[in-house]
Point group: C2
Chain length 269, copies 2
Amino acid sequence: MRTRKTPNSQHPVSPAEARSLIRAGEWTGNTAGVAPGYAQANLAILPGELAFDFLLFCQRNPKPCPVLEGLEPGTWETRIAARGADIRTDLPAYNVYEKGRLKATVGDITGQWQDHFVTFLIGCSDSFEEALLRANVPVRHIEEGRNVPMYITNIPCVPAGVFRGPMVVSMRPVPHRLVTRAVQITGRYAQVHGAPVHIGEPQAIGIRDIAKPDFGDAVSILPGETPLFWACGVTPQAVAMEVKPDICITHAPGHMFITDLLNEGLAGS
Amino acid sequence: MRTRKTPNSQHPVSPAEARSLIRAGEWTGNTAGVAPGYAQANLAILPGELAFDFLLFCQRNPKPCPVLEGLEPGTWETRIAARGADIRTDLPAYNVYEKGRLKATVGDITGQWQDHFVTFLIGCSDSFEEALLRANVPVRHIEEGRNVPMYITNIPCVPAGVFRGPMVVSMRPVPHRLVTRAVQITGRYAQVHGAPVHIGEPQAIGIRDIAKPDFGDAVSILPGETPLFWACGVTPQAVAMEVKPDICITHAPGHMFITDLLNEGLAGS
C-alpha cells in the first residue's frame, strides 16, 4: 500500500508534491502553511472579452494587483509561476460566480472550462509575512489564529476600461518601535504588494470602525501599536465582481494556488 | 505678433507647452533636452487583436518593456503619463509600418487612426541618465554627441502569445570605481529599465563586436572602463515588428512622447 505525505508544518512538501496531492483529490483543505517558503497566489479567471481591460487594470494598480502570471486566452497550463501546473485541477477549492453571484464551490473546474477563459495569478501578502516573522515583527492574525482583517477604503484605484473601484487593504498592528522596520521589510517585496499604503489613523482612508473589517476577522490592537495598511489582492476580485461578468472563477478563500516561486524571489533586487 | 518659446536648454519649456508646440506643427525636431526633468516615452500602436498578447509580453518582461501607460482600445487621449495629450498629434514624428516594413514617416497620424488601435507608452533610459550625470557617472554617448549604442543579445525574452524574441540592450561604459554606483543609481529606476542586465564581457550575452552596435552609434570604451548593459525599450518594438502586423505605428527615432511624469517619480519608493 502506497502512503503519501500529508502536508503540514511537521511534514512540509514541495510545491509540485502539494499540487499533485491536490490534483488527485487527496488534499482538499486550505493551503496555509503548505509548502512553506513558496509563494501562494490568488486566482481570477475571466471571460476573454474582459482580459485586456483586466490586465490593464492590474498594470495601472500594481500595489493591489501584482500579477505573478497571466495566461494566454484558453490556456490552463502555467509556465512562469509553476512549471506545468493545471489551473483547472491544482487548487483545492474554487468559487464559481455568475453575474457576480456565487453559484458553486467546487474542487475542480474542468467541467466549467471554456476556450476563451483568461487566467490571472495574483500575489498575496502571505509572502511578506514570512519575512516579517523572521525579523521578529509580530503578525497578529497569525498569533490569534484568525484571517487577516481587510477593509474597503476611500482610496480609488486607477480605472481601466470597465473596471473601477476602491482599494481593499489588509491591516496588521505593529509596535511603534518596529513600524519603520515593517515598512522597510515589506517594501522589498514589490511583487507582492510592497510597502504599506497607509500608516496610522484608519479614518484617513475611510475606515470608520477598525473593529469591523469588511472581510476576514478583527484582531487585537494593543497599546503602543500602530495599524499598518497594505494594498490587498482582494481588490481585483472585488473590482471584477462589480462588473458582474457572465462567469468568473476564483480560488475559494484560503484555498490558494501554490507556486514554485520562492517568497524570497519576489523581493526586489 | 505672438512669439513662442523654442524649447532648448537655454529656454526649457514645460511638457504641456512642448506638446502644444508639437501639436501646432511648430516643433518638428527631435525631443532630446526638451522639457528637462520629465520622462520621455517610446510609442507603440498596434491593432486591437494583438493588444492582450502585447501587454502580457510587457508584463512578463518588465525590464525591457516598462509600460508607463497603456490606453484602452480606440483611445488616443492619455490620462496617466500626461493629462489630456493626444497621441495622434503630440509627437513630432511617427513611423508607420505595414507588415513590418516602414511605409511612411509623418508628423501626425490623425488620418491613419483606426478605432481598434491600442497604444502603449514605454519608458526610456533617458530618465536614469539624468540621475547618472547628477552623480558624476559619465554617459559616454552624450559626451560624444551620439546615439546610445544598442545590441541584440542572446538573452531570450519570456514569450507571450505571438510575441517572442531576444532582448535588446543599450551599453554605457563606466569607470571601474563607479560601476557599483551606476548599478545602485539605475536600480532605483525600476519603472525605466532599472539596474543593468549584464556587466562586463559582451560575448557572454552574445555580442560579438562591441564596436558594431545593431542600432545607434558606437562609442569609445576607455582603458579602465567596464561596459554596462541595460534592457532597452527598443526590445518591444523589435519583437512587435517580427510579427509583421498589418499596421504598427511607433515614434520616429529620437522623436519621443514628452510626458508629465518627473524622472524622479519613476524611482522606486
